[in-house]
Amino acid sequence: MAPTLRPARPIKHLRLPEFQHMKSYWDPIQNVEVVRVLAGEFYVTHCSEMITTVLGSCVAACIRDSAVGIGGMNHFMLPAEKASGRESNGKGAAHGLNADAAYGSYAMERLINCILKYGGRRENLEIKIFGGGRIMGGIADIGLQNISFVRSYLRTDGLSPVVEDVGGDFPRRMAYFPATGKALVKKLRNIRNETIVQQESAYLADLRRVATQGGDVELFGD
């Protein structure tokens, strides 16, 4: 069988306008254009592309609407810190009145909204979740907190994942093909985690600033 050749023109011009800035490269083995999603980013496509990422404590939701042919992936963790020092009571925590839930909901909604914006329908969404490994030191299991949040968010929104590959004490390298829904996961049991821990720690520090401040507020009468 003849090998698939790279398209004469890169498919970047077919990308959704929100993602024109994302870099990509051609994978000659998979014969596909590859977009790498970093912590805090998300990517949605209607093209036959492969989305890759490496997950430690972070989680990634891979979501698509196969009927419309659009899907994508996010990559995030919770800031794991209260928004502004307000004491959380049990009731508040259950309803997610903190920066964690506000940020996590934002990360999930950003991905889902983008899929819906380009024709996806909520009732058609096929959802797979990955990551949430316990790779960072400390008493709190940050990976488990991230997993619990995603499960709770999906349950509250009436959505359920068809595949979960979460937890464990190892990072994951993964690839997702929104056009087919195929997800490939490699559990990185035999590599040193320091680089991933450093990257996630830097992301977490930045995330806490963002989550504590919240998004911009603009009053038009001002």
């Binding site: 502004s84 307000r86 508040g92 934002y106 709770s152 504590t212 507020v217 603009e218």
Partner: protein, 120 residues
Amino acid sequence: MATILVVDDSASMRQMVEFTLKEAGHQVMVAEDGQVALNIAKGAPADLVITDVNMPNMDGITLIRELRTLPAYKFTPILTLTTESTTEKKMEGKGAGATGWIVKPFNPEKLLATVNKVLG
């Protein structure tokens, strides 16, 4: 304390905003899209509307335009609470009659401060 209509297609987000507002003593009505919100608004006045922008059936910008045609909502403060942050979208919201634009992720205290400010 005020009666506030919260509109968002995400149940998680509706719960969080509702809880934040109720903790501050406000009464809250919720709707999952613009069409449901409009139906509620026609039957019950609110002191403030907080609406998402991207929603099925009727989006937040259309909802704002429709609400501004109702005498009871002509001068009611309407805030958007959305992941959209582009200047173009904000100007579209302003043109439709929005009072202000809040970008997610929302900070509960910041949201309440903004609510108090627009309620005067």
